[in-house]
């Protein structure tokens, strides 16, 4: 699963702080969510993200990947 980060949501209230990144690839969007993260370490807008993990749906019906293994790609080429 790969895409470019368009939106980041940080919620310090949830379980030790959670970071959600909304990524888009050509076909649609998905949310990558990490729980219990203390820092951003490279997560920023426009970065590419290559992830592995299980995809589910959250209460709003959005596709979510929880705590995925990931790799950052800086300045990805635009399609």
């Amino acid at each position: 699963m790969a895409g470019v980060i368009q939106n980041i949501r940080i919620d310090p209230r949830e379980g030790g702080g959670s970071i959600e990144a909304t990524i888009i690839d050509g076909t649609g969007e998905m949310i990558a969510k990490w729980l219990g993260r203390p820092t951003m370490s490279g997560i920023t807008l426009g970065t590419g993200l290559i992830m592995e993990g299980v995809i589910g749906r959250d209460e709003d019906g959005e596709l979510v990947i929880l705590n995925p293994e990931y790799e950052l790609v800086s300045s990805p080429e635009h399609g």
């Binding site: 939106n7 949501r9 940080i10 310090p12 209230r13 702080g17 997560i43 426009g46 970065t47 635009h78």
Partner: protein, 755 residues
Amino acid sequence: MSRAPAAIKRIFVGRPMSSGELEHTLLPKTIALPVFASDPLSSNAYATQEAMLVLGTAGTASGALGLTIPISIAVACVLAIVVSSYRQTVHAYPSGGGAYRVSAENLGMLPGLLAAAALLGDYVLTVAVSITAGVDAISSAVSSIDDHRVIVAVGFVILVTLANLRGVKESGTLFAIPTYGFVASIYLLLVVGFVKCAGGCPQAESAGDQLKALEPLGFFLILKAFAAGTTALTGVEAIADGTAAFRYPQSKNAATTLSVMGALTISMFLGISWLADHTNVVFHHDAGRTVVAQIGAAIYGEGFLFYLLQVMTAAILILAANTAYQDFPRLSSILANDNFMPRQFRNRGDRLVFSNGVIILATLASILIWAFDAQLNALIQLYLIGVFISFTLSQTGLTKRFRKVRPQGWKVKALRSGFGACVTGIVLVVIIQTKFIGGAWIILASIPVIMYGMYSVHSHYQDVARQLAHPERRPHDRRPTHQRFVVYVPKVDAATCRAVGYVRSISAAEVTAVTFDPANEAAWERLAPDVPLIQFPRAGFSNTKALRRFLRDKRRELGSDDFLTVVIPEVLQAGGLSEIVRHPRMHRLKASLLSEPGVQVLDIPITKADIHAMTDEVQEPGRNFALVMVASINNAMLQAIEYAETLRPTDLRAVSFGLEPEAVEKLGDDWLTARIPHPLEIEAAPFRDIGSSVLQYVRQFEADGIDRVVTVIIPEFVVPKKRHQILHGQTALIVKRHLLFEPGVVVVSVPYHLD
């Protein structure tokens, strides 16, 4: 927001480009040469001429003009030294920045500011001088424009400005033609000239003219001529400054381009000087034709090639001004990033071009052209100082860096740049001495003023940052009991109705209403009998003062944890900023209230189209979505969050738009460390148009103003000195302007007062 101005902008400037397209605007060497080197190449058109002008003042009888070639050789040597030194700069600083970066990093803030001021002034002069010289070249061929030089010159300034607002790559291709055309024309001239001279050089039209001796032919005069000839060096800095614009590998490409440019310039310059000497051109102030034109006329006659030469010369000169259009805004942006210039200069505009810098440059250059009546020689007197200040500082800084960092072969490198620094330092002294009275004093006087300006902008931003950094505030679950509303009632209408509804939904500690019109009493009784209406005697223009006094008294009764909000309902006629023109008093009232310490201003606008037939009923919105606009963590932002908490909204979150990637990471990290108990959303604004991004984001909440409301809370800084205020708050204005006509959106300004 009105469409017409935006549409006109599109026609002239082109479609907006997203940040991701920046990569595609990097330049290959073949286009980078014309874009960055057109200035040094073009100065050949007038460098020889300037030297001859000085030599001519010694009179033709003295044979001073015969010194043209030796002086040109000396200038060529200096040029070679400077190019060789700048090749090292380009490798040491691949991200560019030129003399400013090198001086600031290695020599300190003051030398850095000196370099910056010198460069900025110089870029403005490059535009003025190049365009004026271009007009000269044209009038050498078409003498009828001689009387309208200023207008023609300013016209060209506008043309180049528009081309640059469209963006580099496209104009790069456009500029390649005249540059290569000029180089080809000059070489053709040289070749044909050498061939013809084999059988005795044709004589220029001014050969044999007699000039009176106005000055003795002495060492000082020779130095003055040498200094005049060094105009050939102007613009060498540009490539080093713009290394970041080259395709990868950037340093190597930039260095190669530098060398090519150096070789071309030296050969053209020496060639022109040789021909000028051998065709016996005699040049003086009121000459109708430039030296190059006279050589051309002598070699080609008055034919097609002559006119081609003039056209190409004019074209490259006008485009040489373009070099400055690359670097002035780029340097302004770098300076703004380092807080030496106002923030407005920091960002790229719609076409990935630094629009504000471009416009300021064009304005200043036009003023200079007008002030000096488009006289080339007058403008050149101001020209060289900045160039050689930056040369000297840049090479000195580089030398110091080599000695500190000690890369491989540092001794030789340091020697090279050190030698270069000495040479340009000497030339600088010569220039100051010889051109002082002629006009250099203007520049020498302006530079400290510019430096002071930059320094005070910097101290101001530092001061603000220091005040904001103290984390004395911590949002800790504020309640509506900390909130008090004062509703301003100019008239009882649909907007007031909305205001009452909104305020009621919050259950604040206290709500009062204020009016200056006794006629509102009865209507208010019907609308909101539970809210006391305080009647103020009508005092005309000092209504605002009376209101402020009332607020101030109220404020004194409250604790430091409490918020006092003035609610201002507004009925707007139509979309468009004409609103401000129509109701200036309201606008002034809002602005005035913002500077009252301890008071927040909540704006409830409603457009006429939005009013339904329910004016008498008051609706309390069931859902209130609070958005706090943030850019970084500071006290102003924390105060805004506390404010948002008192509203007890359905959903509270902080939102940030249009930050650079590094700033995003920092904000995220700071947010997590500060443990602010609310979510933060960071949105991309790919076209850097924060207003539209905010609008789009707000729309997802589908506010209707009746049951669903979005409250946008904007923290603002208020600084004590009015003139410093312009350095802040631009984003707040943009956001407010975009949200004004959006239904169901309430905007609150939460000012944080700095000392």
